[in-house]
């Protein structure tokens, strides 16, 4: 009998996605206990359950066991299957919550993934679909995941709390990934953005654009912020507006920032001017942090480096986010991989904060699901 790879055990609901994703990729079962065990409302939440259902949909042969109270989860991963899938995401979290994990898994499916996700496209918590489209997709392209079928399309926008948005994500499959050497972030040559508004006055978007430009124009003249006002069925179920900004550098790095208005009925109303200005400042913060990968996608880049061939990959990052730090620990326990971490202090040149150079040797991962013809 082949010994089942001994399972890893964790406590708490935090980093649930990481654990399940890494478990799926490494084939090691994972047991998560004490999920909100002290909470008044213990156990898995709706959005987590929805995530687990999504995993079940895209895999074949997974075993998922959840105890009665939902405080313990045992996940024995199957093989990634893919194909055409539809999924209704929970409106408690944005589609970004689900999409981030899908970005990690999609290149390693048996059949190319084509998934329709319904739910909240833009919210204040998760990276929005716009940002992922603008930053994560070019990042994946660096690893050799590129095809005409590789796209993320926003069909409908949905804002919390009602949701009603819809995106289509399709991704080709790869057997192996290319190693990357991203050590030069380059210089920002243009800033693009998307100011969206649904079920509010279309003028909101224009007001956001003006205020954001007022700040960014001090740095670079090449700024263009698109306005996207969706109407009718495409506008989801709740009103809202927001802005996402992306700075592109000469070497093809994308840094992003975004802000969305408060959901209907929660918190005070936000002035679009304030939102635009704050979002522009957030982008400047992101630029200050710098690196070749923006702070949201750090873990994605590190994962794909890990899953590369047995070659050295390097990437220059800004300060590591807590999420990434935990992700690195998880990478170590799932893949026995350690990154060489070198801090690159900012010198005399005015290029923002300290950077971190992450280096690793890929584990020689190959897509076990893909069929050989």
């Amino acid at each position: 009998m082949a010994t089942q790879a001994h399972s890893l055990s964790y406590a708490g609901c935090n980093f649930l996605r990481q654990r399940l994703v890494l478990s799926t990729l490494s084939g090691r079962p994972v047991k998560i206990r004490k999920i909100r065990s002290r909470d008044d409302n213990p156990g898995l939440r709706d959005f987590e359950a929805s995530f687990i259902r999504l995993l079940d949909k895209i895999t074949n042969g997974s075993r998922i066991e959840i105890n009665q109270t939902g405080t313990t989860l045992y996940y024995q991963p199957g093989l990634l299957c893919g194909g055409s899938v539809e999924h209704d995401c929970s409106v408690l979290r944005g589609i970004g919550y689900y999409l981030e994990s899908l970005l990690c898994l999609a290149p390693f499916m048996k059949h190319p993934l084509k998934i329709v996700l319904r739910g909240v496209t833009n919210d204040q918590v998760d990276p929005s679909v716009d940002v992922l489209k603008a930053t994560a997709l070019p990042l994946l392209k660096q690893f050799g995941i590129d095809d005409e079928s590789f796209e993320l399309k926003i069909v409908r926008r949905g804002m919390p709390p009602g949701g009603g948005g819809e995106v289509i994500f399709s991704c080709p499959v790869r057997k192996v990934l290319k190693p990357i050497q991203l050590t030069d972030p380059g210089k920002i040559k243009r800033i693009r953005g998307m100011a969206y508004s649904v079920r509010v006055s279309p003028q909101m978007a224009n007001r956001i654009v003006d205020s954001a430009r007022s700040i960014l124009n001090k740095f670079i003249p090449d700024i263009y912020i698109y306005t996207d006002h969706m109407k009718g069925v495409n506008s989801g179920k709740s009103p809202g507006f927001g802005l996402s900004l992306v700075a592109e550098t000469t070497s093809g790095t994308f840094l992003s920032a975004e802000l969305a208005s408060n959901p209907q009925g929660q918190g005070a109303a936000v002035l679009p001017e304030d939102l635009g200005r704050n979002c522009a400042r957030l982008l400047l913060e992101e630029i200050y942090r710098g690196g070749c990968v923006d702070s949201t996608n750090q873990s994605l880049a590190l994962l794909l480096m890990t899953l590369g061939q047995q070659d050295v990959s390097k990437v220059l990052l800004g300060p590591l986010s807590p999420y990434t730090i935990e992700f690195l620990r998880h990478l170590k326990s799932f893949f026995q991989i350690m990154f060489k971490i070198e801090t690159k202090p900012c010198g005399e040149e005015l290029k923002g904060g300290d950077k971190v150079l992450m280096t690793c040797v890929g584990i020689g991962f190959s897509n076990l699901s893909k069929t050989l013809k």
């Binding site: 009998m1 082949a2 010994t3 790879a5 055990s9 406590a11 708490g12 609901c13 935090n14 490494s26 084939g27 004490k34 909100r36 074949n60 042969g61 199957g78 093989l79 919550y97 048996k110 918590v125 998760d126 990276p127 972030p185 920002i188 040559k189 700040i215 740095f219 670079i220 003249p221 000469t250 957030l282 400047l284 913060e285 630029i287 710098g290 750090q298 050295v312 590591l320 999420y323 730090i325 170590k332 893949f335 026995q336 350690m338 990154f339 801090t343 202090p345 040149e349 005015l350 923002g352 300290d354 040797v361 584990i363 020689g364 991962f365 190959s366 076990l368 699901s369 069929t371 050989l372």
Partner: protein, 1221 residues
């Protein structure tokens, strides 16, 4: 006779030889070959058809491209592992003799017995591991997986004195040495070890209580293939799957010679290493010390067999429990002079022994070889209370002389190795005690990174730490003492963990940093807790760091000076050279990066101020600005594992759960979000804040090498001046900043001539380089193809792979990349079945094959399979068969299938004879593209060819889609027009409902459809057909039924069988074998039996056409019934004539006469006929003659007539003339 036997020589008319001859002949005739022909007669070779030209060009290009292989990154290590050479053949053909001869050829040593792999150094850059393959298919399969040189046949002519001929062996040896191999994908993508040593590490007490308990073993061998990570999954063919509990690397027992200058190897460098055969160099590892008494015949490893050799007698080995052994395995020393005494403790008495020292000046590494054979090793050992310390000391017998105890001349390199061993061991203890291995690892690594820098310069370090940091040293020593006592009192984990810290204080010469490695970060905390003097210890650690800084600094300073004299250099040296220090600070920072900053205090750095204020500041800034991320990530915070917490609490309340852990717990249930929120936003309205990111934009300032303006200026400078040849004007380029500087300098100082010259030279060189680059760009890189680009990319990647971790210490390196191939490693494995140890047979290869991610899992494996064409039978679905896939050998139950054109996978009962088919089994997941072979049985020896099938893995899944055909039949019980009621196909209305709308068909070919279930009888349904059925029709439906595969996976555990029976493994039997064994005959279906065919005579009725139809038919189609002739009435019938004998006679005579007459007439007729013919011929002749005559006559007549006429004409003409005249 002989002459008759000889064949006449026949000239070759075709083939290469004939062609060659022809060519020679042609050349002799000055006719030359095709090329010349082209020259001679260019018109004949002109383009005849553009299309054909294009085609032929296309074809040649195709052929060219076909030769290309997809380039892969070259991942071969710089120092590759020995090449595995497998010698195989039937028994008693002289395999062992061949190996012996080869070894003798390479090493001039003779091995009496060959057991297991033998590693030898065969050349300057090549080592060989030779292994013999016995006559067991298991062994053959396993060895084929690790062999680099396997499938070659050699012819050796006979033996002389029981040995092969020297010359032939020499040739074979040369062949092996220069052989090039094709890397196999499986081998390059998986780490593997061909173990050449095995030790049982199980606690003897456990074995005593339960002899069948699972064992813990350590296996040794060269790592091959890919990088091996600690705690990864491995498979041992013949044993099973395991998780590596620990890996460590050891000094190479059969190292390649260091210097490469010589043409051939020294005798000393011709090493041989074969622990299983009892041969090897001196070997130190944590379990024991092994000594090879080279020169003569092979020996058993010393700890295994009690030797009576005098040298060996002095070797002390402990026969105690493994814990005790580990704790006390320290002093196994060879000396016949001094006894081990406690006096030696204080000054760290070192055991000396003669040795050969080789020093590599470049790297500063010492390479020493202990010589035990004829020179007496002299030395002594010390026996200290502290186990680790004593071990450390004990193992230091390597240093060259007794004075080494004066802390100066420690041979760092070797200690370094040994210390590593200790470290590992401690780590292990640590693991055992607290299971907190993670932080310890990380930490050790940090320090080891530093240590790499300090390598070779530790003597100064010691001194400095004595001279400058005497206070710290004292503290350290006191600390160590304290702990020493502690350890005496009880062997608590805290002691273990604190030891290293103390050790490095008390033994400053001993690579403090190295040993710190164990003071894992959590251990450090533990130390604080136990000593109750956190301040002191923290300052201690800081000072330690400082001293290390200094070491690093001084290392740089002392680089040019001799290593030996370095000890005399005091602090003054570097105080004087502060400027140098400043420069060096940069480098120092690199080392500092990994430093622990948890206990950072500015006060501790004050001593540095006298060095250089700037240095201190830089250091401080560095410490503050760059928090040690590595430690933060991998070090401090362990997994927020409940178990971890528990164990920590269990540690006797000595330790507090550390702070980050608590934080971790706190955030365990917090929001799972990848966004990195800004905690302290900058005020982006401020000018200086805005300026901080100015250069991130294209509008900002660029680096020197990229700034357009600068680059332009440079170019101007280089290419600016030129001379217009036409006008003769000389254009001078603007003098660049460098030249301007030069001018200024010239004015100010005339003395700095060399400087100026240098810069001019540099400028000139720059110019040249630029020109060359331009030239290269124009001519060389113009025609780079996609293939070239790809190759270049791979090359670059390979270089990066090599360069990235090159400068790092091995101990640190293995953390990042894993253990790299070529290393000699020791692998510890737990929970090994006891039979593995009990039935250990060194002749059988032990292979540790690394498994990739999820290769330890099971699922359905689909493959393309073909029965081997030499195998006599075809294979049957669901018969158990043994597969060898990846590293594994296992028995499983496959199903064979074939894929239909529509992608349906249809089950086959048997494999096709000569075709590929699909096969699916339930078993371990193996990457796609892996080849495999299948055999029916691995036991015993078989006369037949055994390999049943071969193929390749195609797909892996957790479910299968194989189907088999199922025909459901039913019978009509009521027939309307095109509708019928069918029964007997289903059993219930529910079943019918599932198949509504399905296609059905009768045997006669009438198609139809299931419509709806009927109420009664149960399972009947209404169906419509394209025609009316008959009651005799059978209706059937074709369906596809998914089959399931029995989840049977049974690894072939041949290595667990008793010695001598290892080739008798037998697994599940096939049904055929079971039937044969039990004598159960297959019950044949009676209907399937062959019987003589009895055919009934067919009887046909006559054709009957109804009268009405007959009437309607046209006449020609009407049946023609001829009216029969009526009977002749009696009265019309004539009576028969009856003749009298007399009458009869008359009649006979008349008959005879008429016959004669007729004969006569006939003859006469014939004669007349002849006569007529004659007459006719004569007549014809006459006629001809007559005609001829007439013809002649006529001719004559005409001639006369003609003449007459002519005459007449003439006369008339004359007359006319006359008239005219």
């Amino acid at each position: 006779m002989e002459a008759k036997d000889q064949k006449k020589h026949r000239k070759k008319n075709s083939g290469p030889k004939a062609e060659k001859k022809k060519k020679r002949h042609l050349q002799a005739l000055q006719l030359g070959d095709e090329e010349d022909a082209r020259k001679r007669n260019p018109k004949a070779f002109a383009v005849q058809s553009a299309v054909r030209m294009a085609r032929s060009f296309h074809r040649t290009q195709d052929l060219k491209t076909k030769k290309h292989h997809i380039p892969v990154v070259d991942r071969t290590p710089l120092e590759p592992p020995p090449i595995v050479v497998v010698v195989m053949g039937p028994p008693k053909v002289g395999k062992s003799t061949l190996i012996q001869c080869l070894i003798r050829n390479f090493t001039r040593q003779k091995l009496t017995e060959i057991r297991g792999p033998v590693t030898i150094v065969s050349g300057k850059k090549r080592r060989l591991t030779i292994i013999e393959c016995g006559c067991d298919i298991n062994m053959m399969i396993d060895l084929a997986k690790v062999a680099d040189l396997g499938a070659k046949l050699f012819y050796l002519s006979g033996m002389v004195h029981g040995e092969y001929q020297n010359q032939e062996i020499h040739n074979l040896g040369r062949f092996i040495t220069v052989m090039k191999f094709r890397p196999l994908t499986w081998q390059t993508s998986h780490p593997y070890i061909l173990a050449d040593r095995m030790e049982d590490l199980t606690n003897p007490e456990d074995i005593r209580t339960n002899i069948k308990c699972d064992r813990k073993v350590s296996l040794y061998g060269y790592l091959r293939g890919a990088h091996l990570k600690n705690k990864s999954q491995i498979h041992m063919p013949g044993v099973g799957d395991f998780t590596v509990s620990d890996v460590s690397f050891l000094p190479d027992p059969c190292a390649l010679p260091e210097q490469q200058k010589k043409r051939c190897l020294n005798e000393k460098e011709k090493l041989v290493y074969a622990p299983l055969s009892g041969v090897g160099g001196v070997l130190y590892d944590k379990d024991a010390v092994y000594v090879d008494l080279g020169g003569s015949h092979g020996f058993q490893a010393l700890d295994e067999v009690g030797s009576t050799h005098e040298l060996v007698q002095s070797l002390i080995s402990t026969h105690s429990t493994i814990d005790a052994k580990m704790a006390s395995s320290r002093v196994m020393l060879f000396s016949d002079s001094k006894a081990l005494g406690s006096e030696d403790i204080d000054n760290q008495g070192l055991l000396m022994l003669k040795e050969e020292k080789q020093m590599d000046l470049k790297t500063g590494r010492m390479r020493r070889k202990a010589i035990f054979g004829d020179e007496d090793g002299s030395g002594d050992s010390d026996d200290e209370d502290d186990d680790e310390m004593s071990e450390d000391d004990g193992l230091e017998y390597g240093s060259s002389d007794e004075e080494a105890e004066e802390e100066e001349n420690a041979e760092v390199t070797d200690e370094y190795m040994i210390a590593k061993g200790i470290k590992r061991r401690k780590l292990e203890e640590l693991e055992e005690d607290s299971e907190v291995d993670l932080p310890a690892f990380a930490d050790s690594d940090d320090d080891l990174e530093k240590s790499s820098a300090e390598e070779g310069e530790v003597e100064e370090a010691d001194e400095s730490s004595e001279e400058e940091d005497c206070s710290s040293g004292e503290r350290g020593i006191s600390g160590s003492k304290a702990v020493g006592e502690g350890s005496k009192a009880e062997l608590s984990p805290s002691n273990h963990q604190s030891d290293p810290v103390n050790l490095e204080k008390s033994l400053p010469m001993k690579k403090a940093a190295l040993t710190t490695s164990d003071s894992g970060h959590c251990t450090a905390e533990e130390v604080f807790a136990s000593e109750d003097d956190s301040e002191e210890s923290s300052s201690l650690s800081i000072e330690e760091e400082n001293s290390e800084n200094q070491e690093a600094l001084r290392k740089k300073l002392l680089k040019p000076s001799q290593v030996g004299s370095g000890q005399k250099l005091g602090p003054r040296n570097f105080i004087d050279e502060t400027s140098d220090i400043e420069d060096l600070l940069k480098e120092e920072e690199d080392y500092k990066e990994e430093k622990n900053d948890s206990t950072e205090t500015s006060g501790a750095l004050k001593w540095k101020e006298d060095l250089s204020r700037k240095a201190a500041e830089a250091f401080l800034r560095q410490q503050q600005a760059a928090p040690n991320l590595r430690k933060l990530i991998y070090g401090t915070v362990t997994e927020d594992n409940e178990e971890d917490d528990d164990t920590q609490e269990e540690l006797g309340g000595l330790f507090r759960v550390n702070q980050p852990d608590r934080a971790c717990k706190h955030k365990a249930d917090s929001l799972d979000c990848s966004r990195f929120l800004v905690e302290a936003p900058h005020d982006w309205d401020l000018e200086e804040v805005m300026n901080s990111i100015r250069d991130c934009f294209v509008t900002g300032k660029w680096e020197d090498d990229k700034d357009a303006a600068k680059v332009l200026a440079e170019d101007e400078e280089l290419y600016g001046d030129f001379e217009d040849l036409e006008t003769g004007d000389v254009h001078k380029g603007k003098s660049g900043p460098i030249t301007q500087n030069e001018d200024v300098e010239k004015e100010v100082k005339e003395e700095i001539d060399p400087n100026e010259e240098e810069s001019a030279k540099k400028k000139h060189l720059d110019k040249k380089r630029k020109l060359k680059e331009m030239f290269d760009a124009e001519y060389d890189e113009g025609e780079s193809t996609y293939f070239d680009d790809l190759k270049g990319e791979m090359q670059k990647q390979a270089q990066l792979n090599r360069a990235e971790f090159e400068d790092q210490d091995d101990e640190a390196r293995v953390q990042y990349e894993g253990f790299r191939p070529g290393m000699y490693v020791r692998v510890e494995i737990e929970n090994v079945p006891c039979e593995f140890v009990q039935n250990f047979d060194p002749h059988y290869p032990i292979i540790l094959g690394g498994l990739g991610n999820s290769e330890g899992n099971v699922g359905y494996v689909q493959m393309r399979l073909k029965k081997h064409r030499w195998y006599k039978k075809i294979l049957k679905s669901r018969d158990p068969i043994i597969f060898s896939v990846g590293w594994r050998r296992f028995q499983t139950i496959p199903l064979y299938y074939i894929e239909d054109h529509n992608g349906r996978q249809r089950l086959l009962k048997y494999t096709p004879q000569h075709m590929h088919c699909g096969a699916t089994f339930w078993g371990p997941i193996t990457p796609q593209g892996t080849g495999f072979l299948a055999i029916q049985s691995v036991s015993g020896i078989m006369p037949d060819f055994r390999i049943a099938a071969t193929g390749v893995v195609l797909d892996l899944d957790k479910s299968i889609k194989i189907v088999k055909k199922l025909k459901l039949t039913g019978f009509p019980y009521k027939i309307f027009k095109n509708t019928s009621f069918i029964k007997g196909m289903f059993n219930s209305a529910l079943e019918v409902a599932k198949f509504e709308g399905a296609m059905i068909r009768t045997v006669s070919g009438i198609r139809g459809q299931i419509k709806k279930a009927l109420r009664a009888p149960e399972g009947a349904f209404r169906a419509s057909f394209e025609d009316k059925l008959l009651m005799s029709d059978i209706v059937f439906m074709r369906t596809w039924y998914p089959v399931s595969i029995p989840a049977f996976y049974n690894p072939v555990t041949s290595l667990l069988k008793p010695v001598g029976e290892k080739d008798t493994w037998s697994g599940m039997r096939t049904t055929g074998q079971l039937r044969l064994a039990h004598g159960i005959r297959l019950k044949a279906n009676k209907d399937s039996l062959y019987k003589p065919i009895l055919r009934q005579k067919k009887h046909f009725n006559s054709l009957h056409i109804p009268k009405a139809l007959q009437k309607a038919l046209p006449f020609k189609n009407k049946p023609k019934t001829q009216a029969k002739a009526g009977k002749v009435p009696k009265d019309r019938r004539r009576p028969a004539v009856v003749r009298e004998p007399h009458e009869r006679k008359i009649l006979a005579l008349l008959d005879a006469l008429s016959t004669v007459h007729s004969q006569k007439m006939k003859k006469a007729k014939e004669q007349r006929h002849l006569h007529n013919k004659e007459h006719f011929r004569a007549k014809q002749k006459e006629e001809e003659e007559k005609l001829k005559r007439q013809k002649d006559l006529r001719k004559k007549l005409f001639r006369i007539q003609g003449q007459k006429e002519r005459r007449n004409q003439k006369s008339s003409l004359k007359g006319a003339e006359g008239q005219l005249q």
